[in-house]
């Protein structure tokens, strides 16, 4: 059960080796006895990541197989994950790939891959998870969106479209959960200096995985539902969204 201070006793991570997911787990500072189930494609990568996350020794971590693109298997996967954890207090959903924009433009199969991973597969899994949380009458879902989903940009519109879809989906799902005891936290990080963006030039107001983790942990403990990171990008997002297309196009990047 979630406690009065936002403490979670059981956590399911969709994208168990994710850097932002693990930064979040670390920031949550789970208490002794908590149980974490990491779900993803590579048990080795997840186990290595869990070791790196430096969780308290009495936090139990296990891994399970989940591929976002395997939509046919999601219902069974979610059922099994919930059965294994018993109550699920918190679902983190940081799975995602950045993909290669240029390749996607010439190889639509790659674009499909990005969309299936970031939007179709993840959203489908979240639907199953949300239904079970509703039944439970409590729990928190965390969805990792991105500034890239805000507007379609030449440089990354294939990835951006997947995040735009996810973002709209999550915002609506969150609204549909009002009054059910379940809360959805929609995180909107700006540019995060991390594994996914290694080698890329940092955008203005870049943030870190640690900052994202801390912001998510604070939102889980509190009442926030939409969480821009850093907080200051919130107003920037609003402005970007409102800019006329002609001007928006001329922005660098």
């Amino acid at each position: 059960m979630n406690d009065a201070l936002g403490g979670a006793q059981s956590v399911l991570v969709l994208g168990g080796a994710s850097e932002l997911g693990l930064a979040t787990l670390r920031a949550l500072d789970l208490r002794p006895g908590a149980r974490v189930l990491l779900a993803g494609r590579s048990p080795e990568a997840m186990a290595a990541a869990a070791a790196e996350a430096g969780l308290a020794p009495s936090v139990t971590v296990s891994t399970t197989n989940w591929d976002a693109r395997d939509t046919a298997g999601h219902e069974a996967f979610v059922e099994k994950a919930f059965a294994e954890l018993g109550e699920v207090d918190l679902v983190l959903a940081p799975a995602g790939i950045l993909g290669d924009q240029q390749r996607a433009e010439t190889d639509p199969a790659h674009a499909v891959d990005i969309w299936e991973t970031n939007f179709v597969g993840l959203a489908a899994t979240l639907l199953s998870a949300a239904a079970r949380l509703r039944t439970q009458g409590h729990g928190v879902l965390v969805v990792y969106s991105s500034v890239a989903g805000l507007r379609g940009r030449k440089a990354n519109f294939v990835y951006g479209a997947s995040k735009a879809g996810l973002d709209a989906f999550a915002e609506g799902l969150g609204a549909s959960l009002a009054g059910t005891g379940v809360r959805l936290v929609l995180v909107r990080p700006g540019f995060v200096r991390g594994r996914m963006t290694a080698g890329m030039p940092a955008a203005p107001m870049a943030t870190t995985p640690e900052a994202v983790g801390a912001a998510v942990a604070a939102a889980v403990a509190g009442r926030a539902e939409i969480v821009p990171v850093p907080r200051a990008v919130g107003p920037v997002f609003l402005v970007l969204r409102a800019l006329p297309a002609k001007i928006f196009r001329r922005l660098p990047g």
């Binding site: 201070l5 500072d29 006895g33 149980r35 048990p43 290595a48 869990a50 005891g181």
Partner: protein, 500 residues
């Protein structure tokens, strides 16, 4: 055995509702049913509760079958009784399951003036009971800091009052109660006739069944006024010294500590002790109506407080004023409402803590562990919690019921806003300190205890689990508190370790 009918037959259809405790933290959704005990004479004070029995049976059948719950809250996730929701945490809520609102079961079925006993539905509030029995020359044997608790809630928490050192806790004055068990039967429980069911229920947090009616021994009083000695005390050591020396001269005793006071005035407090006044102590006007009891109607705190409305400065100013206002030493008369229930004058005062709500932390440590009390007060005052007053009191002997909170020693209770940075670590640290000193925290106030400390705090836990299981073989009674602390089941065996 009753046939299984849908849960909707109880009173009216179940209503899905988000529920929290008084601290307004961790809301969860449940289907709320409200038996209203129609006029039928089936049981003293409980009316005809066959609809409720059906709900228990239906839930028990689904729970036993292991069926997966549907998309709406319902029977697969069990039931729990709820009174007036004055427990601070998650004791009277049941995420995804059914919550039985007991507050319509208020019928008083017997008052025996000669014996000084009353029998009433478990949903009757102490407020209503006082209004009935005070004019007859009786007071409730134990009252908490609010009158808005039900008889059922008082028994399930085995509540204590300012008179614990003299009179013990609520269940010590319960002569009998009716309990609907996990099989839907109602059994009448007396301390001598069914000691196991009594022990499992007194302090059992609603997990042994649904109390439908209670027979209570009342305290005869000659007036409705309190004679109160008030003393201002400069520091904690002096306070504990004065309490230890002279508490036993009074039926009621409690001290309010200013946790924001630091340095030399750390632990400064106002100590109030008293007893029911005799008729000849009342001024002439009051003596004409010595049993008058008419608490003022309540103001209601508006629901507009942001979480930061209470900060250290505003609370410090309040505490300072409160301390300065208290007389250095004074004896006077007070009304029952002023002496026992000062916060009841403002309805819904819990809203002042804003949308994130607050936790109440209450522990008891044995006599001899004064150092632990001192450390706790020091840590709380070092953390500069913007808390209004903390309450310190001495408990007398406990009653041995396995989950009953009171045990001989010092008990400290205070409210803390849930958003205070560092609160998780601060309270976890205090829990360890308290458990290490042989103490415990109060489950009716708890909303965040670590489950692994429970067994150390309540050594009777395993025994309680055995007694409880006999009354509820399928495990139909469950609450968020029970889930969070693995209260009835013991800790889940974790999945295998991976990669570490």
């Amino acid at each position: 055995m009753a046939e299984v009918r849908p849960v909707a037959d109880v009173g009216r259809a179940p209503v899905p509702r988000l529920l929290t405790g008084w601290g307004r933290t961790a809301p969860t959704r449940a289907a709320v049913i409200a038996p209203d005990g129609p006029a039928g004479p089936a049981r003293a004070g409980s009316g005809d509760l066959s609809g409720l029995a059906d709900a228990v049976l239906a839930s028990s059948a689904v729970v036993a079958s292991g069926a997966v719950a549907g998309s709406r809250p319902g029977p697969a996730r069990g039931l729990i009784a709820r009174g007036l929701g004055r427990s601070y945490g998650d004791a009277a809520q049941n995420a995804g399951g059914t919550v039985v609102d007991m507050t319509a079961l208020t019928r008083v079925t017997a008052i025996d003036l000669a014996a000084g006993t009353v029998t009433a539905g478990a949903g009757l509030s102490l407020d209503a009971l006082m209004r009935i029995v005070l004019p007859l020359g009786f007071f409730v044997p134990v009252t908490p800091g609010t009158r808005y608790v039900t008889l059922g809630g008082a028994l399930a928490s085995d509540i204590h009052g300012k008179n614990h050192h003299v009179d013990g806790s609520f269940s010590d004055h319960v002569l009998a109660f009716d309990l609907m068990t996990g099989t839907g039967e109602i059994i009448t429980v007396t301390p001598g006739g069914a000691p196991d069911a009594f022990a499992a229920t007194a302090g059992g947090m609603g997990l042994s069944g649904i109390v439908t009616a209670v027979t209570l021994r009342l305290l005869p009083v000659a007036t409705s006024r309190m004679r109160v000695d008030t003393e201002r005390v400069g520091g904690l050591d002096e306070l504990m010294g004065r309490m230890a020396a002279r508490d036993d001269d009074y039926r009621y005793s409690v001290a309010w500590i200013d946790t924001l006071a630091r340095g030399a005035s750390m632990g400064r407090a106002v100590l109030t002790r008293g007893d029911h006044a005799a008729p000849d102590e009342l001024p002439a006007k009051a003596a004409r109506d010595p049993l008058r009891f008419a608490p003022h109607p309540r103001l209601v705190a508006p629901d507009v407080f942001p979480s930061r409305a209470l900060n250290r400065l505003s609370v410090r100013a309040f505490n300072e004023l409160w301390y300065r206002r208290a007389p250095v030493r004074h004896t006077g008369l007070e009304s029952i409402a002023t002496f026992f229930h000062p916060l009841d004058g403002v309805g819904d005062w819990n809203r002042v803590y804003g949308p994130r709500g607050f936790v109440q932390y209450q522990f008891v440590v044995p006599f001899g562990a004064e150092e632990t009390v001192r450390t706790a007060v020091t840590r709380l005052s070092d953390a500069r919690c913007p808390s209004f007053l903390a309450v310190l009191k001495r408990f007398g002997p406990g009653n041995g019921h396995p989950l009953s909170f009171p045990a001989p020693g010092w008990t400290l209770a205070l409210d803390i806003p849930a958003g205070l940075p560092g609160l998780v670590g601060l309270l976890d640290g205090l829990d360890e300190l308290v458990a290490g000193a042989g103490g415990r925290v109060y489950l009716s106030k708890d909303s965040r205890l670590r489950p692994d400390l429970l067994a150390a705090m309540y050594p009777g836990l395993d025994r309680w689990r055995e007694l409880r299981a006999k009354l509820d073989p399928t495990g139909v009674f469950v609450s968020d508190l029970a889930r969070r602390l693995a209260l009835t089941t013991g800790p889940a065996v974790g999945p295998p370790l991976a990669g570490r």
